[in-house]
């Protein structure tokens, strides 16, 4: 069935005329081609802004009744936030922006429209914190925690968002409201898991399922004690504003390494000693971009950064007392000495001390878009620190064919490895740029991704995860315990139109 005036009227009756539109110039705001994609997205038939879970459920039911596609979106920063075909009802969830913080039980209940720039400071007022994913201030914490991925800068002393996702409320593809975790028995939001088999398993695995098994309309996320001083001092005007964590309990040290196996040793030793709040082997292309004022400025600094911080190990120490800080520093320097690390120039190291928002809300990372906006991540995976470092080492096997020929812009050591849970695991990501001015740019990107996957397949490295649906999932799923078959069965069981 196709979208009609009748459907429009039914939807308008749910949300009210003010919160629905089918004006073409307004639809244009949610169909544009973004620079990392080769083609524009199909236009939605209408955009509707529900305010409650019940309204979302009603909209889904209307779409089911009329056999229309639908999708729900908050920020629109990823390709799945766009219509994939004709007759699509586009739900914008920005009106669903309520939040509630339970200080004693250390969780926040959030709706999709709440943004990091709203939640983070509210949480911090209570001496609490959470791992804000590297998506910028306007990103939705709910999306990060429940719908997509969520690697973050502070996961060494914490973990990935999937560990912090508690009770979840969602609208199933059948238009029903489903609650998981302790919510399922009306016992509040605090516990992630339902009595077995836990329905939390449906919500997300390594990453979320981008709404495929339901639209998540509310969730609780667990909060951690804030590490380091609560007071954040700010200086300056954008784009050169600075944020400091003053006091005797917070220090940032950055070390350079010759090879990744030494970094690996350092990360594991730090984790065993259970010191430091943040540890990361950062990628220097985004790092250089974060330190620059423009694309031109980037190319002035690129060679310097490549030479000076080819393999930087960033360590943020944040303790409860100066005495503990000194204790941690002593161990840190011992480990760095043993693993052959060298401190980078202080002027460069100061960048972190002056930009502590890097550790709080991961701002400025959008500056990776500065080189034209066409980027892509690969090796986006997680496993043991050792395994991730081995994968990082394997990148040099295939990357030169692409960088030396200008097919992509990158460098072999430009991958990040961020340990989690005091180095029990780590996530990795190789972030590269492709040239959208080059007619073959997208093709080059795809070829590079294929080469990356081929290396993982050759060594049986867990360098990417089995995800998604359709033919690519089928191809990959066979390698992953036939995950594609189970995923398809689950989807069929919960989505009448799968």
């Amino acid at each position: 069935m196709s979208f009609s005036d009748q459907v429009y009227q039914e939807l308008a009756a749910v949300v009210g005329e003010r919160y629905i539109t089918r004006k073409d110039f307004i639809l244009a705001g949610n169909r544009a081609k973004t620079p990392e994609m080769p083609v524009a997205h199909p236009s939605a038939e209408c955009i509707v802004c529900p305010a409650t879970t019940e309204e979302v459920a009603e909209i889904v039911s209307i779409c089911l009744r009329h056999d229309l596609r639908y999708l729900a979106c908050v920020t629109g920063c990823i390709p799945s936030a766009y219509a994939s075909g004709p007759d699509t009802v586009f739900m914008h969830l920005k009106r669903m922006n309520h939040m509630e913080i339970n200080v004693e039980d250390r969780y926040a209940i959030i709706e999709p429209g709440v943004r990091h720039v709203q939640l983070y400071p509210e949480v911090r007022k209570h001496g609490l914190s959470y791992a804000a994913a590297a998506v910028g201030p306007g990103g939705s914490p709910l999306v990060t925690y429940a719908v997509t991925g969520g690697d973050n800068h502070v996961q060494y002393g914490a973990s990935r968002p999937c560990r912090y996702l508690l009770g979840v409320e969602m609208v199933t593809p059948e238009g029903e409201i489903l609650r998981t975790g302790s919510l399922q028995t009306d016992s509040g939001w605090f516990c992630a898991d339902s009595p077995g088999p836990s329905l939390r398993g449906l919500v997300r695995g390594y990453s979320g399922n981008n709404g495929k098994l339901g639209i998540i309309t509310k969730c609780a996320i667990a909060l951690d004690q804030c590490k380091g001083p609560a007071e954040i001092r700010r200086e300056g005007i954008s784009p050169h504003h600075k944020m400091f964590m003053d006091g005797d309990c917070s220090r940032v040290y950055v070390f350079n390494y010759e090879n990744i196996q030494d970094v690996c040793d350092a990360m594991l030793a730090l984790g065993e000693a259970e010191i430091a709040a943040t540890v990361q082997k950062y990628f220097y292309l985004p790092l250089t971009l974060m330190m620059t004022d423009s694309a031109n400025d980037f190319f002035k600094k690129w060679e310097y950064c490549k030479k000076t911080v080819p393999m930087p190990l960033v360590v943020h120490i944040a303790t409860q007392s100066p005495e503990e800080r000194e204790y941690e520093e002593k161990i840190l320097f011992d480990i760095v000495h043993e693993t052959k690390g060298t401190r980078i120039p202080r002027d460069l190291e100061m960048w972190w001390e002056e930009h502590m928002d890097y550790f709080m809300i991961v701002t400025r990372l959008q500056s990776v878009l500065r080189l034209g906006g066409s980027w892509f991540p690969c090796k986006a995976s997680a496993e043991s620190v050792q395994h991730m470092c081995d994968i990082g080492e394997s990148i040099s096997e295939f990357i030169y064919d692409f960088t030396d020929t200008g097919k992509i812009f990158d460098a072999p050591e430009n991958y990040q490895i961020i340990p989690m849970e005091y180095s029990h695991f780590a996530s990795s990501e190789l972030l590269f740029m492709w040239d959208r001015f080059n007619p073959d740019g997208f093709k080059n990107m795809m070829e590079f991704m294929a080469a990356s996957s081929a290396t993982d397949a050759k060594y049986f490295y867990h360098g990417s995860t089995s995800s998604g649906y359709g033919p690519s999932a089928e191809k990959k799923g066979k390698l992953y315990s036939n995950a594609h078959i189970w995923m398809e069965q689950i989807q069929k069981a919960f989505d009448p139109r799968a």
């Binding site: 639809l27 954008s238 400025r364």
Partner: protein
């Protein structure tokens, strides 16, 4: 003719990261007051935002969409406050506001300038002021015994708002005289600065007016222009160089006054009443007041600009002088709002004649924010912000113009 093509790089670079809509983390303070784009916050749909208007510009550029009245209404409801632009430029090399302005120019040239803007244009062209009032009355507020210094190379540019708010110009005159600054007025030779024409996309008329004004300044030997109007200030700094080469210096009265205070040339009364004030940064005095530097070059792969471009990112707007003045006035306690400096929430004035409800919402938001920090008075120094923010509501909040507040607090014996 409008040329969106020259902004193609910006138009095609947007990744929908959302930074044009939300406060930068440097000033984050909580759930409330985190939004930055008034039209996006009010109308909700993404098209109503910097990102959305880039997308629309893209469809206009590709011929997929044409201008029409509804679109025009949306383009001109946007206050062009530039918050999106400054936020985007925190991390990107894009010209979001310039694209919006070019889109308006394209819209105007396509014949879809909204009626209220057409009327405004006609008024400026016919009477040299935005209100359509008789030109000969432009300086009728001056006291009979007023004397300026006809030989001075510094001009106090009164601006059209002097028709409605002459007290601000009289206050500026008092300050300048107290500080011993030699200045002159242009009287009948002063015409509208042209800010509204440039920003509505009436480029031909704006160019004509601006060239005429610059010629007048040259003919009068003007080296420095002082203005008490943020709109005029922003136009002289960020608008004029787009049309003509300018060699004169522009100062806002707050810059002049702050320097006079620092030099001890202004003495202040110490019997003023205690009050908690908050300062509202006008867009055209703050983030949009950086000097425009023309760039004409090529954008190559990876976004490299050849030759290198000098960016206006809002960093060097006039932020501190107004605050220095407020801190200097005895009894005044300055309390900052969350959205301040380059991250100020717009007063909403420019959208008022297109959608009054939107404008009232935007101004109301600002007053709510001011009240939330405990302010009794909201102070600013832009006649249009004044009209938006000086209203009666539940917040028990007075509006004061900074120039007038300072002038009222000058000690008579302090005058040089």
């Amino acid at each position: 003719m409008a040329d969106l093509n020259k902004l193609r790089y910006t138009i095609e670079s947007c990744n929908h990261c959302g930074q044009c809509k939300w406060l930068l983390p440097g000033r984050m303070s909580g759930w409330d007051f985190a939004a930055m784009c008034p039209i996006h916050e009010y109308y909700l749909f993404d098209a109503y935002s910097g990102q959305g208007m880039l997308n629309i510009a893209g469809e206009i550029l590709s011929g997929k969409m044409s201008h029409h009245e509804d679109l025009a209404e949306m383009l001109y409801t946007c206050t062009a406050c530039g918050a999106c632009d400054i936020n985007c430029k925190n991390v990107r090399d894009m010209e979001v506001l310039d694209t919006i302005l070019e889109l308006r120019r394209d819209c105007a040239e396509a014949g879809y300038l909204p009626e209220v803007r057409k009327t405004e244009l006609e008024k400026v062209m016919n009477t040299h002021n935005i209100y359509g009032l008789p030109h000969e009355q432009r300086f009728s507020f001056l006291p009979e015994d007023f004397k300026d210094d006809p030989e001075a190379d510094t001009v106090l540019f009164a601006g059209c708002s002097a028709y409605r708010h002459p007290e601000t110009i009289l206050a500026a005159i008092k300050i300048l005289k107290a500080g011993g600054v030699k200045f002159r007025l242009l009287y009948e030779d002063e015409w509208c600065c042209g800010a509204s024409l440039w920003r509505m996309g009436a480029h031909k008329e704006a160019e004509e007016l601006i060239k005429r004004n610059v010629e007048t300044f040259r003919a009068k030997g003007v080296k420095t222009i002082i203005t008490a109007c943020a709109e005029c200030f922003g136009a002289f700094r960020g608008g004029y160089p787009r049309f003509v080469e300018t060699e004169f210096r522009t100062l806002h009265i707050t810059q002049v006054a702050a320097e006079l205070l620092q030099q001890g040339k202004l003495l202040l009364r110490d019997d003023g009443e205690d009050m908690t004030v908050t300062y509202h940064d006008p867009c055209m005095l703050g983030r949009l007041s950086e000097e425009y530097v023309h760039w004409d070059g090529e954008i190559q792969s990876w976004g490299v600009h050849v030759p290198e471009k000098e960016w206006r990112r809002g960093e060097f707007g006039v932020y501190e002088p107004p605050r220095e003045i407020l801190r200097a006035i005895p009894g005044v306690k300055l309390q900052e709002m969350v959205r301040s400096y380059e991250e100020a929430w717009c007063c909403g004035h420019k959208g008022a004649d297109i959608d009054g409800e939107f404008a009232a919402y935007t101004a109301g938001e600002r007053r709510r924010e001011a009240a939330s920090v405990g302010a009794e008075v909201i102070v600013s120094c832009c006649p249009f912000c004044r009209e938006a923010l000086d209203s009666k509501d539940d917040y028990n909040l007075k509006y004061m113009d900074l120039t007038e507040l300072l002038a009222d607090n000058l000690r008579e014996e302090g005058q040089v």
